[in-house]
């Protein structure tokens, strides 16, 4: 049935009004400050700042490590959420509880622990090094840190939707003769897709801006393992606020575009499933 044009529900004005008000207060005004600071520089200065080789290199690094981490989290997060909601196994509650911890742990602590574990003489890194895989102080290390901090997003976005998914739909599909695989693929998955996309987008967006944990494990080598937020920090260190905000604005636009696309995709997939249902 989906959403309809004529709506009998009350509270539209109040809820949307408050939403927009609070959004302006907490998000939009602060962003205006950011953009107005960037507007103090001419376009050429802006372009010179953001097109310098180090900025470009760090930008690509941030982009591809965040995308890898978010993809890994999307696949594995779907699995974890499914297992946690649908199956029973010992210590499930504990595992469920632990999923949130990457949020609660200060990012610096996460970075330090991961570096301890994955550096060449750490308990895990030692074994990986034997296979010729170096994790700490390489882009792979950045991916590990970003996977850790983005882990709860996909799981926690999918979980409520899965909890709420009517098993009846699956039963119906089964009684109509669909195989389990088919009903999962064509009935369950489309319902999860919007939430999965959201989780992916959030995990990506969070990873893209992450600083605290990455600086420990990346090694911060210019042109090789230097992430975008670190460059913002180095600009600030030189009291170059405008240069810092220039990079910030570019990062912001990229994640905004990314989130917007994914929200559109989610909206489109919801529309498709609701019209199919």
């Amino acid at each position: 049935m989906g959403l309809r044009k004529k709506n009998v529900l009350p509270g539209f004005g109040l809820s949307l009004g408050y939403t927009v008000f609070y959004l302006s207060l907490v998000v939009l005004i602060p962003f205006a400050a950011l953009f107005s600071r960037t507007a103090q520089m001419s376009f050429m200065e802006f372009w010179d700042t953001i097109s310098s080789p180090r900025v470009v290199a760090s930008f690509w690094l941030s982009l591809y490590t965040s995308l890898s981490a978010a993809s890994l989290n999307a696949v594995m997060g779907l699995l974890v959420a499914w297992v946690l909601v649908r199956y029973h196994f010992p210590l499930k509650t504990l595992v469920d509880a632990l999923v949130d911890l990457p949020f609660a742990l200060p990012t610096a602590v996460a970075g330090i622990s991961l570096t301890t574990l994955y550096s060449v003489n750490g308990p895990l890194g030692k074994h990986l090094a034997r296979w010729g895989i170096e994790v700490a102080y390489t882009p792979l290390g950045i991916i590990v840190a970003l996977t850790f901090i983005g882990l709860p997003f996909v799981v926690r976005t999918l979980q409520p939707v899965l909890e709420d998914l009517d098993v009846e739909i699956e039963e119906a599909a089964a009684s109509l003769g669909a195989s389990r695989m088919k009903s999962l693929l064509y009935v369950v998955f489309p319902n999860l897709l919007p939430a999965l996309l959201t989780g992916f987008a959030l995990s990506f967006a969070r990873a893209f801006g992450e600083y605290g944990s990455v600086v420990f494990i990346s090694g911060n080598m210019p042109m090789r393992t230097e992430i975008c937020p670190l460059l913002i920090m180095t600009k600030l260190e030189q009291f170059d606020y405008i240069g810092a905000t220039a990079i910030a604005v570019v990062m912001l636009l990229v994640s905004f575009m990314m989130l917007f696309t994914i929200n559109l995709l989610g909206w489109w997939s919801r529309k498709r499933t609701s019209s199919a249902a």
Partner: protein, 351 residues
């Protein structure tokens, strides 16, 4: 209807707790001592100022009868300077380099540009230098700067873009190379390039580098403040580490200043000035020396003579003219440090 009243109770509870929280917030700013002072400092001075503050509070109490409580803030030197520029109400700043205090004058006009002339010895009550920390027994036989650019030696230093201490490291190496090559800048640049080609990790701060070197056991030699090297040995393992003194190094002068605009507002100029002058007294100098900062006062220096080895030291003015100059040529965006890495495709790939 039971549930509805339950909900009402919950919302009332929420409201009450919210108001309590707001009340707490409002009452947060008050303190109960006679006078307070905020000292905004850089990272390695935590232990030093913990002792100085106790000693000064005692001294001030004896002299005036007032109880004084000194609040401390520590962080990277540049970051701390930025916080003060942005409004952190520091009565006194005790930072790693003069450039950062200059910024308080030039960016926000918080103190006069001539601040460095107000206290003796360029407003630096204690000095330090850059030394090498190596593993016990010095397995790679590192003796002087030239050993750092040999192939196969891994050097650990923080990132000069984000760490004040790392800038001293870099400038010390540059100064050595200049002296050795009779002022040939190109040779110095090659030396620096070779040195940083041997650096596998650039942590964002000095203590991060120490952890990388000591805890993760990465690298053969750590460049750092003399006082930090001694602290690392004492805290992390006298049996694992030792110090190597290079033949030449830089005279690192961490300066102090009171911040005029803020002490005027807090009416704390007398206290701030007394606090900084205390650093120059026999007691203050003795505490500094105990924390492995080289004292200025001859009598104290004599007492701790065998603690600090004789290294030929050059000052930043001698070699670089001024901090502003050094910062602009070497560390600002597009400076020599950046150029080294942007040409880095020429370097052998280590990874």
């Amino acid at each position: 209807m039971k549930e509805a009243s339950g909900l009402k109770n919950i919302s009332v509870l929420c409201l009450i707790s919210f108001l309590m929280v707001m009340g707490l917030l409002v009452s947060c700013g008050q303190t109960d001592t006679d006078r307070t002072l905020l000292n905004v400092s850089y990272d390695p001075t935590r232990e030093l100022y913990a002792d100085i503050n106790d000693a000064f509070a005692l001294d001030w109490k004896n002299r005036t009868g007032q109880t004084v409580s000194i609040r401390q803030s520590h962080g990277g030197s540049g970051k701390q300077a930025r916080a003060v520029i942005d409004g952190l109400a520091a009565d006194v700043v005790t930072l790693a380099l003069a450039y950062d205090i200059d910024a308080l004058a030039s960016k926000a006009d918080l103190l006069p540009a001539s601040w460095q002339q107000r206290l003796p010895h360029n407003s630096a009550p204690y000095v330090s230098t850059i030394v090498f920390l190596v593993r016990k027994g010095n397995p790679k036989g590192i003796k002087d700067w030239d050993d750092l650019v040999k192939p196969g030696i891994e050097v650990i230093t923080p990132n000069p873009k984000t760490s004040g201490g790392a800038r001293w490291n870099y400038l010390a190496a540059w100064g050595y190379a200049l002296k050795k090559n009779n002022g040939d800048e190109n040779a110095a640049r090659e030396f620096i390039q070779a040195l940083f080609a041997n650096v596998p990790v650039l942590d964002s701060g000095a203590r991060g580098s120490t952890t990388t070197f000591v805890q993760r056991e990465i690298g053969d030699v750590l460049l750092g403040w003399e006082n930090e090297a001694y602290l690392a040995i004492n805290e992390l393992g006298p049996d694992r580490l030792e110090i190597v003194n290079p033949s030449i190094s830089i005279l690192a002068e961490p300066p102090v200043a009171w911040v005029d605009r803020i002490v005027e507002r807090h009416k704390s100029r007398d206290l701030a000035a007394a606090y900084l002058e205390f650093l120059y007294t026999e007691t203050g100098q003795d505490i500094a020396a105990r924390h492995f900062y080289r004292p200025r006062l001859e009598t104290v220096a004599a007492r701790y003579r065998d603690r600090f080895s004789d290294i030929q030291l050059f000052s930043i003015e001698e070699v670089f003219g001024s901090w502003k100059n050094a910062q602009k040529i070497h560390f600002d965006d597009g400076g020599i440090f950046d150029q080294i890495y942007e040409d880095s495709e020429a370097l052998p790939d280590r990874s």
